[in-house]
C-alpha cells in the first residue's frame, strides 16, 4: 500500500509540475479539455524509448511471460493461513485485477495439503476399481484418448471468506474473496469411461485419491459422478499447471475445490463412504447445535464487488466521473440468473447488469454504471441469484442458522465501503 500511495503522490506532483507554468485556473482544476492553456503530455511529445529501437526478437520467449511491468499482479499468501513452511497452505488469486471470467493459469489460486507435487507424466497412472465390472489402469496417453469435453468452471475453496464469520478481517478483496479462480477445463466425463467399465448397482460412493505425499482423498456420491464429474488434463488450452494437479485432476463442477482432487491417482467405488481426513477433521461445518455438516458439496450462490476494491480504489476519481462498478457472481448449484447492487450496505437494492457469457457453475461478470460524487460515502453490497432458486442471504440470516464457527461455505452478502476520500474498506453489515 505504501508503494501505491507514493505512486499517487508522484502522479499528483507530476501533474502540478506540468501545470505550474500555466494559468491558476488550470491548477484549480478546470477541465483540461476546455482549458486553452494545457500541459503537453511528454508521453506524446517526446519519442518513447521503445519507439526508437529494436524490440525483443521473436525467439526470446519460447513460452511467453507477462510484461515486466505487471510484476505486482501475483498470487499472495499470509502466514496466518499457512501450515508447515507453506506446504499445507494457500496462495490466493488477485481477483481485483482479474478480467472477464477466466483466470490466467499463472494466477490461479493454489491450495495444497503437502506441497505442489511435480509428477513425471510418463510415470503417471490412473486406476479405477472397486464396484465396477471391469477395473482399469490408464496411462496419461490412454486417458487422453477418451473423447474430450471442454467446460468453463470456477473452482473455489469452500473456506473462501471463512476467516470472516465473526467479523471482517481482510481489507482486501484478494484475501476476502480470492480463494477461487476460473478456467476452461478439458477432460473426459467419468460417466463416459464408466459406460464400458460398468458401475455396479450397489455402488454409492467413489473415493478420489491424489498421488501427492498427503494422498489427498475425498468421498464423492455417485450422483455427481454420473452427472458432470470430469477427469481433466487441460486448463485454458494447455496442460494443467502443477499447482492445479498436473497432469490430471478431478473436477466436480461447482463443488468444493478440495473435492476436486489434484494429482489424481485412484478412483474406487464402494457401498459405504470413506471418512477421509479432509472430510471429517476439516471441510465440515459446525453449527450452533453442536452438529457439523459433513459432505457439504456445492459452493452456494455468491458474489462480490471487485472494482472498486481496497487495492484499487476511487481516490483518483473526480466529481462527476462516470465509473463502472464491476464484480463477479458465481454459484456451484447452477447458473447465475441475476445480480442486485446496493449502495447502502444491503438495505435497498437496484438490479445490476450481467455481462458477457453466463455459463453454468461459472464465474459471471456483472456491472453497474455509476456517476461518482466527490465525497460521497457508499456501502456497495452485491447479491446474486441462481437458477436453483437460491439468493445470497444477509449475514444475519446465514448466522442465525450456521452460527459463526462453521469455517466453510460462507456466502452471505459482502460489503465494500467507499469513504469520503474514495478509499475502499471491507465492512460487514450485521446485528
Amino acid at each position: 500500500m505504501n508503494n501505491k500511495e507514493s505512486q499517487k503522490v508522484l502522479e499528483r506532483r507530476d501533474f502540478f509540475k506540468k501545470t505550474a507554468a500555466l494559468s491558476v485556473t488550470a491548477i484549480a482544476g478546470t477541465s483540461l479539455v476546455s482549458s486553452n492553456a494545457r500541459a503537453d503530455d511528454p508521453a506524446i511529445i517526446n519519442n518513447v524509448p521503445w519507439g526508437q529501437k529494436w524490440g525483443d526478437p521473436v525467439t526470446k520467449n519460447r513460452y511467453g511471460m507477462p510484461s515486466k511491468y505487471e510484476h505486482n499482479v501475483l498470487r499472495r499468501n499470509t502466514k496466518l493461513l499457512a501450515s508447515g513452511n507453506f506446504r499445507a497452505s494457500i496462495a490466493v488469486a488477485p481477483i481485483q485485477e482479474s478480467m472477464g471470467i477466466i483466470t490466467p493459469n499463472g494466477l490461479f489460486f493454489s491450495r495444497c495439503h503437502g506441497g505442489v507435487a511435480q509428477i513425471d507424466p510418463n510415470e503417471y497412472r490412473l486406476m479405477i476399481h472397486g464396484l465396477v465390472e471391469k477395473p482399469i489402469v490408464l496411462t496419461l496417453e490412454q486417458l487422453k484418448r477418451y473423447p474430450s469435453v471442454t467446460r468453463t468452471h470456477f473452482i473455489e475453496c469452500p473456506a473462501n471468506g471463512g476467516q470472516e464469520w465473526r467479523g471482517p478481517q481482510f481489507n482486501s478483496v484478494q484475501f476476502a474473496k480470492g480463494f477461487m479462480s476460473s478456467a476452461e477445463w478439458t477432460g473426459v466425463y467419468i460417466k463416459t469411461i464408466l459406460e464400458d467399465l460398468g458401475l455396479k448397482p450397489e455402488a454409492q460412493w467413489m473415493l478420489a485419491e491424489g498421488s501427492d505425499n498427503s494422498e489427498m482423498g475425498r468421498t464423492v456420491p455417485v450422483d455427481k459422478v454420473l452427472d458432470d464429474a470430469m477427469i481433466v488434463w487441460g486448463q485454458n488450452g494447455e496442460a494443467l499447471r502443477p499447482e492445479q494437479g498436473y497432469p490430471v485432476r478431478l473436477l466436480l463442477p461447482g463443488w468444493e475445490g478440495n473435492l476436486c482432487v489434484k494429482w489424481l491417482k485412484r478412483l474406487e467405488f464402494a457401498t459405504e463412504p470413506w471418512y477421509c481426513k479432509e472430510e471429517t477433521s476439516k471441510y465440515t461445518d459446525l453449527k450452533p447445535t453442536g452438529k457439523a455438516i459433513q459432505h457439504f458439496y456445492a459452493n452456494e450462490v455468491n458474489s462480490t464487488v471487485t472494482s472498486p476494491s481496497p487495492e484499487i480504489d476511487w481516490t483518483h476519481l473526480k466529481d462527476g466521473d462516470i465509473v463502472e462498478i464491476e464484480g463477479l457472481a458465481w454459484s456451484g448449484m447452477g447458473t447465475i440468473t441475476g445480480v442486485d447492487l446496493s449502495f447502502d450496505g444491503g438495505r435497498n437494492y437496484v438490479k445490476a447488469n450481467l455481462k458477457g457469457l453466463v455459463l453454468p457453475k461459472s464465474w459471471t461478470r456483472w456491472s453497474y454504471i455509476h456517476t461518482y460524487k466527490k465525497g460521497e460515502v457508499l456501502q456497495l453490497t452485491s447479491r446474486a441469484m441462481d437458477d436453483a432458486g437460491y439468493i445470497q442471504p444477509t449475514i444475519d440470516q446465514e448466522v442465525s442458522v450456521m452460527g459463526v464457527e462453521a469455517v466453510y461455505h460462507r456466502n452471505a452478502v459482502e460489503t465494500w465501503e467507499v469513504n469520503a476520500k474514495g478509499e475502499v474498506n471491507h465492512v460487514q453489515i450485521r446485528s
Binding site: 500500500m1 508503494n3 501505491k4 529501437k53 525483443d56 526478437p57 505487471e70 505486482n72 501475483l74 499472495r76 499470509t78 476399481h129 465390472e133 482399469i136 473423447p147 469435453v149 467479523g167 481482510f170 481489507n171 482486501s172 484478494q174 463416459t192 459406460e195 464400458d196 460398468g198 458401475l199 454409492q204 473415493l207 505425499n213 494422498e215 455417485v222 491417482k265 459405504e272 463412504p273 471418512y275 481426513k277 471429517t280 477433521s281 459446525l286 453449527k287 455438516i293 456445492a298 448449484m333 447452477g334 447465475i336 437494492y349 453466463v358 456501502q379 437458477d387 436453483a388 432458486g389 437460491y390 445470497q392 442471504p393 444477509t394 448466522v399 442465525s400 452460527g403 465492512v427 446485528s431
Partner: protein, 383 residues
Amino acid sequence: MFKLDRKLIITASAAAAVALFTLGCNGGETGTTASTKVNGKATIDGGVTYPVVNGKTGPYYVNPQVAQVAPKLYNGRVPTANELKAWDKDIMPDGTGLPEGSGSVEDGEEVYDAKCVMCHGDFGSGGGGYPALSKGNAYDLQKTLTNNRWKDPDADGPTRVFGSYWPQVSTLFWYIKDGMPHPFSKSLTDDEVYALVAYVLNINEMEIDGEEVDDEYVLDREKFLKIKMPNRDGFEPNIAGPGALDRVRAYYADAKNFGGQNLHQGAERCMTNCQKETAKTKRINGGITNFLPPMSDVRDLPAVKEVKVDPVAVYKSTCAMCHDSYLAPGSAEWSGYLAEGMDTVYAKGIKGTEGGMPAKGGTDLSDANFKTVVDYITSGKVK
C-alpha cells in the same frame, strides 16, 4: 454396463424433457434447461443439473457420437493383483484395509518424539502452523462443540481436535500411514502407526471398551476396531448405511439445514429494507494484514539483481549474425574504432549507430553487462 435408470444422458426430445424436468429457473435471464430432479429424485447437492436436450447440456454442444461409442471404449488394461494391493490401501471405519499389527503408547511416544514433535508440538499441542492433536480430555472437549461465539464474541469457542471432533478413528490410522511424516510420508511400519495411534489416544485421554489408554496400553487391530470416537454422532446428514444418498438428497433439498435462502418458484426477492434494523456497520478491528508479497498495484519495473551474462554466449546468439562478417571478435578492423577510445566505442554500442549497429545490439542488457560484450568483440577475449 450399468442399468438404464442410472444413466443421465437424456436423449428425449425437448418437449418430453420439459415435461420430465422441473424448471428451476427463477425468473432468470439466461434461459438454460435446468433440472432440480434426476430420474424423479432431488439432486444430491440441492442444485440443478443440465440434461442433454436437443444435443446440448446447458450452453454446451455435445457430440452425439460419444454416447454411441462410449460402451465400447476401454483404453487401458486390468490392474494386476499386486498393483491393486500396492494402491488400494485406504482404511474404512469397519476395518476394511486395516492391517494386522500392534504398538504401545510407550513406543508411540518414542516415534512421536523422533518424527512428529517438531511440527505437532509437545504432547500434540500444535505449533509451527500444524494442527494440534490434543487439547486435553476428548470426552470433555467434545462438549465444547456447542460453544459458538455468535452471541458473545468473548466466549470460548469450540475445540476441534482429533479426540473431540473426528467421527472415525480409521481416518487417523489411514492418514498417518499415507501422509505422515509430511516430508517422508509412507515410511512408517504398521506397528509404528499402531503405536502412534495409541499415543494420540493416550494424550486425548481416551478409553477403549471401558479401559483407559494409559501409558502401558498396547493397541492392536482387535482393540482398534472397538474404539468409539466421542463425536461419532456429531455429523449430519447421516452418510452411513443403506439409504444414505436419499438422506443426503433430502438434507440439501431443505435450505434451512445449511443456512441457504431459496426463493422457491420465483417468489419476489427483497429490494427495500432488506437488513434487520439491528444490523450495523462492523469494521475491521486489527485484522490480518501481513500479506506476502505486500499488496501493490503499481506498474513499474521490478527490482532485479544484476546477473552477469556470458559475453561469448550473447555474441553467438545476438551479434554474430552481422559481426562475424565485419568487426568480428578481435578483428584487426577494430583498430580504427579503438583509436577513438573505449568510452566512445561503448557509447556507440549502447546508443547504436546510423551505420547499422542497433542500440545494445537489440538486447535489453544493462550497460555494465553490454560493456562486457563490447570488450569481448573488440578484443576477442573475455576479461
